[in-house]
Symmetry: C2
Subunit: 158 residues, 2 copies
DNA sequence: GCTGTTCATCGGAACAGTTCTTAATTAATA
DNA sequence: TATTAATTAAGAACTGTTCCGATGAACAGC
């Protein structure tokens, strides 16, 4: 009753079923524990690129005994298994469930991260000079600025 | 004699003269101290996106009494004045002198950061959806992969 | 069912990078 | 030279993250 009904998912972060999770964990020789399921679901359901701390605070409501260490370890495990993605954009490490190619708008003020897509960029082939630098595995545009909410606040508080 | 002759600069990180620095500091109501000049020069001369610790270790050779705290404070000041740029891509905070638009290749293995240019990307205009998200101030492509040196090492050590 | 083994978990301690504190000293500018 | 900001030293504090030793749960083979 007091529970939030948080169900709105993007196409690219649909939650895997427990059976699918079990298969992935078993293949990796790992056990699928309650905590692991809960951490996974928390990241997938979240839209705010949460930090370990955020996930921890959230899960404590349902599992009061969960430890921060477990959250950290589990997030690492999930990242290693490719189920979520680790991001380091600021002082915090954050996690996101969207594994498809996308980019980030980062508000310099409130540090909010907003995903966006940019197909025009995704189509541009990597410059020649980069090929001699190394093997490219991943690319992402990071756009920084001030988000609408912070702009409104700035204008209002003057 | 034991001094390194490190003079190769990119076009975009030409060192400001002491007079130019003085003017900038004066405008900001700050004093231009020996340490500040040295820290500034160390970043501008460096090609490796150094951390505070790296700068500190380097400067100790010339100023044995310099404190790590001063390095941290000075790097912040220089960033605030727009003379260098602060980067947080990994666990360390790093600094770079190149203020022009460029992008970063980051080696996942040795954590080296290599600058590169990508004019094709710079010309692409920002997607419509972003305009409703906020005010864009800065954009940068982050490419991750394995650099040539690490690739060679990987092949060799097998 | 038991028994041992293999993990995952817990709680707290440890760690690393960064910032802050206080007081004394040094050095830049008017 | 006087004023005042910046630096130093030595350490504490802080924050995010990881490690450690003990405990406990789940599973395999008997």
């Amino acid at each position: 009753m007091a529970k939030k009904t948080k169900k709105s998912h993007d196409a690219n972060s649909a939650r895997l079923s427990v059976d699918e999770l079990r298969r992935i964990f078993e293949n990796a020789g790992l056990r699928l524990t309650h905590q692991r399921i809960m951490v996974y679901n928390a990241v997938v359901d979240s839209k705010e690129h949460p930090s370990a701390e955020t996930i921890y605070e959230q899960l404590k409501k349902d599992i009061p005994t969960i430890s921060l260490d477990t959250v950290y370890r589990t997030l690492s495990t999930l990242d290693r298994l490719g189920l979520i993605k680790r991001l380091q954009l600021f002082d915090y490490i954050r996690f996101e469930p969207d594994l498809s190619r996308h980019h980030h708008f980062i508000c310099k003020k409130c540090k909010k991260i907003i995903d966006f897509h940019w197909p025009e960029i995704d189509g541009v082939s990597i410059p020649e000079t980069l090929k001699s630098v190394g093997e490219v595995q991943d690319q992402m545009v990071e756009v920084r600025g001030i988000c609408k909410e912070c702009l409104a606040q700035e204008g209002g508080e003057k």
